[in-house]
Every structure is written in C-alpha cells, then in structure tokens.
Amino acid sequence: MAKVLMKGNEAIAAAAIKAGCKHFFGYPITPQNELPEFMSRELPKIGGAFVQAESEVAAINMIYGAAGTGARVMTSSSSPGMALKQEGISYCAGAELPCVIVNISRGGPGLGGIQPSQADYFMTTRGGGNGDYRHPVYAPATLQEAVDLTMEAFDVADYYRTPVIVMGDGMIGQMMEPVEFKETTRRDLPVKDWATTGTEGKRKPNIINSLALDPAELEKHNFKLDARYKEMEEKEVRHEMYKVEGAEVVMVAYGTTARIVKNAIDALEKEGIRAGLIRPITLWPFPMKAFKDIPETAKALLSVEMSTGQMIDDVKIANEGKLPVHFFGRTGGMIPAPEEIMDKVKEILGGGK
C-alpha cells in the first residue's frame, strides 16, 4: 500500500481500525483530540461504536465492559486523563481484559500544560493503579513505528489477556510523517472462550470479575498473572541500538527524545566524539539485556528524558552498578535541544576533546 501523510494521532487511530478495533470510548483532552475525532468519523462506517463518555473514568469502565464481550477496544487520553483511568486499568488487569490504551502525554503534575512531556514514565511503568500487575508499554519514536506498534498492541493484548499502553507525547501526536499500513503476520491467538457473549443456554455463564476474597485464591491468580508477565519479559522486549559500537558515552532515551539524541550523536560524531544510544521501544518490559551489549569503550551512561529523571531508575537497575549513570532532562513541556545534550556529553567526558 502507498504511503500517506498523516498526523500521529490520526495514524494511531487508523492503525487501530486496521487491527480490528471496533469500539472506542474516550473523553477529549489536548494534545490527543485528533484521535477520538478520527474514531468518531470512521468507526460508524464499519459498524463500530464511538462513545464520548462523560469522563475518563467512565470511558475506561466502558472499555472494561466492551472488552468483556471479546471485542477489540481502545481508549485514549493525555496525562491527567490517564491518571483518572488508572483504577480502571488495574481492574482490566485483574479481570484479564485485553484492551489498548493510548497516552499522548503532556506536562504535569496536576493539569500541567499541553506541550510534550515524558513525565508519565513512573505512572505508566510502575502501575498507576493498585495491585500486583504490569502491562506492556510501547513508546514509538516515529509515526511509522506508532502505526506498527499500535497494530501489534492489539495482538499482544489478546495473546496475554492484558491492557497494553501505547505512549507517545504531544509531538508524536501532532506531527505529520508518511506512514504505510503494512499487512502484518498475525500471531496465533487463543479463542476468547472467556468472553460474555451469551450462553444460549448451552454453557455456564462466563463471569468477568476482579474480586477474590479468598487470599489463597487471589494468590493463585496473582501467580498466574506473574507467569504471564515473566513470559512478556522474555518475549516482548524491544529496543534499538544506535551507534553504540565504540561509543564513549551511551545514552538511553525513548520516543521523541530518542530522535533528538540521534541528532546529537551524529553532530558529536562530526566533532570526533563517539556516543551511542540504547532506545527502549518497550518501556515495560524494559530492555535490561541490551545493557549487556554495551562495549568496553563506554565510560558512562546518560539518561535523557523530558522529565526530571524517571527512566533513570530502570537504567540504574539495568546497569547493575557498572558505569556511572548521568542524567539530562528538560521538563514541563520544554524539549531538549541537540546542543544541550552534546554539552552534557562533553561535560561527562571532561570538557570535550
């Protein structure tokens, strides 16, 4: 199929429909509004449903209900709206309901601002809701990747019976790039025999629930979920290595920031300074193993984020105390410039060469 020029928010919505998403529930918030707008226009054409809920809390609970019927469903929001959805996400995790949730994040805390930010890393990877759960988090850096990962997210959600988050920031949502909707090789997915589709008097009713008052039963459930999380950690990790070979400073950055870091790396290279990038594509599961491939030339790690330092915790865990870990970040909707990142690298190396 030929390439088309689309806004990030629209591309994610189109990818979801391409992946078989039939129902969308959401509540407006900048900078992701083009996504529900696209859904409101396109879903009725394919016999799906678009519902503008009365709040983010209502929307995520509609997701709970619709996912329970086995349909492919999506909701989207931005940071403060995502905070409101956390209870529902925890319930979906507990009730093993597949769904895809998009966060086009913005500055916080509180209402914050509307410009791009990566300050939702903790909320998104540490479980913003209660209980012993995880969920995959995809962090695309280009719109093509946003399309591919959104389509993948629906398969992953169905395969593991889990909520999956696709997290971009305002820039990913608002920018335009050419995208292509490729036919993907689909996973072998289990039949949704757990879905509440009506018994027709032929089977026992399916019950979708996250309440388990017997601790022994709940522990069993937790262990079952944990086994799935371990399988995801084994099979679903994704990352990209960029010019890591021979690098003196290895940076770690995702999404928008990774694009800026690549510019900084290329510019540093022209000045004779070798730097590289580990780009997590899944924020959870975090690409711990990628850090085993850091060459001996590396003198330090540098986590670059649009926050005051959140992913750096995972970088430190992955590093296992081997190299000094530095941080550079802009926050509140400010976007780091390549020059600032280059200066930080030079500072780490002792004022440049």
Partner: protein
C-alpha cells in the same frame, strides 16, 4: 540535501497548509519528510507556525532550533521571532506586504515578496501563502512545482479542482518575484 524550513504567520494566513503542501510534495518525490506544527491555546488571529524537514536521509528530530535553512515569515512577529533560527546564509523570505521592517541579521539572504499584493493581482488574497511557497521553491528547488501541484490536487479533493490553476499561477508569480 536537507532543507529545514520554518513557516510562520498569524492564524488564517495558511502557514500550516503551506507546510503540509511542501511535506506532501516531498513525500510524492520519495524524500524523507516531517511536518511539526506549533500547538497551543491560540486564538483566531494568533500566531501559527510549523517546521518542515525535507531530506534525502531519514529525518531525526522534527524540531528546528538554530539550524533552519529557510524561514518564510508572513507577518512581523514571525520575522522577529524566527530570523534568529536561521543558519548563516539561510534564506529569509519576507512578506513585504505586511512587514516594512528590515531583518536584524546581516548574515542571511533576505528576499522581500509583496505576497498579498501579488495574490490580490491574481484575484484571490488567500493565495498569498502559495506565492511565498513559489518563491521558496524557485530559490531552493527542493521539490518540483509539479509535485506541489500534484499534492494540491490530492489535498483539495475532487470538489475543488477548479482552484488548481489559481494556485499554479500563485506559485509562478512567487517564483518570478525572486528571479
């Protein structure tokens, strides 16, 4: 070849669609492209700008900071704000219909295009943005005029094909202004 263009003006001057047209035309020519709008709580008549990158190699960051190869400014606040983003010898294309001031930088190449007057001469004040785009294309040849026309046809859709000749003329008049 990597062109990094900032387009700016006030809301309604068509800076966003001018940027999208160039991006679309680049895509048609199989170049690597990105379009990044400013977004914010703006009111009608407020400022608008977008950053367009057209390149032979993959686009890294879509943000243009101090490395713009060109700036197309449609009003005075845009000139004041964005001339500093140009690289030395960068192209600064100024809508002289609305901007009487001179740029502060003397290390960039400034072009003065009376875009609104030209647009009015050809019968539609709304194509001032296309006049500016025509001037930019003549200077850089980053994409062909044919590709922009092709992009226009796709963006306009079947109902508005009658606007294509007007826009073609606007591109030509803009080009003539810098020849």
């Amino acid at each position: 070849m990597t062109e990094k263009i900032i387009m700016a003006g006030f809301g309604g001057q068509g800076v966003m669609s001018m940027g999208q047209l160039l991006t679309y035309a680049g895509m048609i020519e199989n170049k690597q492209v990105s379009w990044l709008p400013s977004y914010g709580p703006e009111m009608r008549g407020g400022t608008a700008n977008c950053a367009v990158i057209v390149s032979d190699s993959p686009v890294g960051s879509p943000i243009i900071t101090g490395d713009a190869t060109a700036a197309i400014v449609m009003n005075l606040p845009s000139l004041v704000k964005f001339e500093q983003n140009l690289i030395p010898k960068g192209n600064l294309i100024i809508n002289s219909s609305l901007i009487e001031e001179q740029p502060k930088r003397d290390d960039v190449t400034a072009y003065f295009i009376p875009a609104n007057e030209i647009a009015n001469e050809i019968g539609n004040s709304k194509v001032a943005n296309i006049v500016m785009l025509g001037a930019y294309l003549e200077l850089t040849k980053v994409v062909s005029v044919d590709s922009v026309i092709e992009a226009l046809k796709k963006v306009f859709g079947p109902d508005k094909q009658h606007l294509v000749p007007l826009n073609k003329e606007a591109l030509e008049r803009g080009a003539a202004a810098v020849k």
